[in-house]
């Protein structure tokens, strides 16, 4: 049961933190219930936490924060892009599904990359087949297919190679 003590500890701390944020109270009954729930859930579920990747932890944390900054910026740009395409009388869209080949190999990295791609302007990730990602793109640029995933492939690759 205790093959991964660090993962167990981290999952209990995360669950307890989420509990405290949801209840927003420090009453002793809430704390007791929270400890019971988070310890039992942590023991049951800590094995599904992803394994720590290789590489320097500090630089991975730095790149993760950078990822959030880039994601926020891209989400705001994406919303203005949607507003432009929807409100323009002629609807300037040129949709299609393209294939890209990200360099990322780990499962967590692929999850983060596909989620980020869905939230960036004009792209929606549809499926992985082997190591290729299929993206629905609202305004296809044939010459420059990789620009649909450009801001993220490198940054996510630094966190989860």
């Amino acid at each position: 049961m205790l093959k991964r003590p660090v993962a167990l500890f981290l999952s209990i701390v995360l669950l307890m933190g989420a509990w405290l944020m949801l209840t927003t109270s420090l009453h002793y009954q809430e704390i007791i219930a929270g400890v019971l729930v988070s310890v039992s859930l942590g023991i049951a579920l800590h094995s599904i936490l992803p394994k720590a990747g290789k590489g320097n932890t500090i630089s991975r944390i730095f790149y993760f924060l950078l990822f959030f900054l880039v994601l926020t910026k891209e989400m705001i740009v994406a919303n203005f892009d949607v507003a432009y395409r929807v409100l323009h009388p002629k609807m300037p869209i040129r949709p299609g599904i393209v294939e890209v080949r990200p360099k990322i190999r780990s499962d967590m990295g692929r999850l983060l990359l596909s989620n980020a791609i869905t939230l960036t302007p004009g792209t929606l990730s549809m499926d992985w087949i082997d190591d290729r990602l299929y993206i629905h793109w609202i305004n296809v640029d044939d010459k420059n297919v990789d620009s649909s995933m450009e801001p993220f492939d490198k940054v996510v690759g630094e966190v989860f190679p």
Partner: protein, 118 residues
């Protein structure tokens, strides 16, 4: 006298509502499932996050809950839209007639997984 944080919260909620309206507009105007999902996912994710954070700023006792709601919206919305797009394609919903390219169809045939709900 309205406190400054209430004003900021209301501005955030108004921005969120504006994006939600634009997303709904896109749902009506754009031609097929995939394009509609594009508008829906982006505007509704950012709009809902903006409303949640606006509520948290205007009413600071709700801020931790609002942050958790925003975090889960950010995590789950793209996954759901990805699932809908994939399921729609595999159950045979065609692309809009103005679409220019479809590399997914050939790849599905090549891998022999077409029509398989796995």
């Amino acid at each position: 006298m309205i406190a400054i944080n209430e004003i900021i919260g209301m501005v955030l909620m108004a921005i969120g509502l504006l994006f939600q309206v634009l997303g709904a507009f896109g749902l009506i105007r754009l031609p097929d499932v995939y394009n509609r999902l594009q508008a829906a996912t982006k505007s509704i994710t950012l709009g809902a996050i903006s409303i949640a954070i606006g509520v948290g700023v205007a009413e600071p006792t709700l801020l931790p809950k609002a942050l958790i709601v925003a975090f889960f919206l950010l995590l789950t919305n793209p996954i759901i839209s990805h699932g809908i797009a994939r399921a729609a394609y595999r159950s045979g919903v065609p692309l809009w007639k103005g679409s220019v390219i479809d590399q997914y169809e050939k790849a599905l045939e090549r891998s022999g997984k077409g029509g398989d709900p796995q």
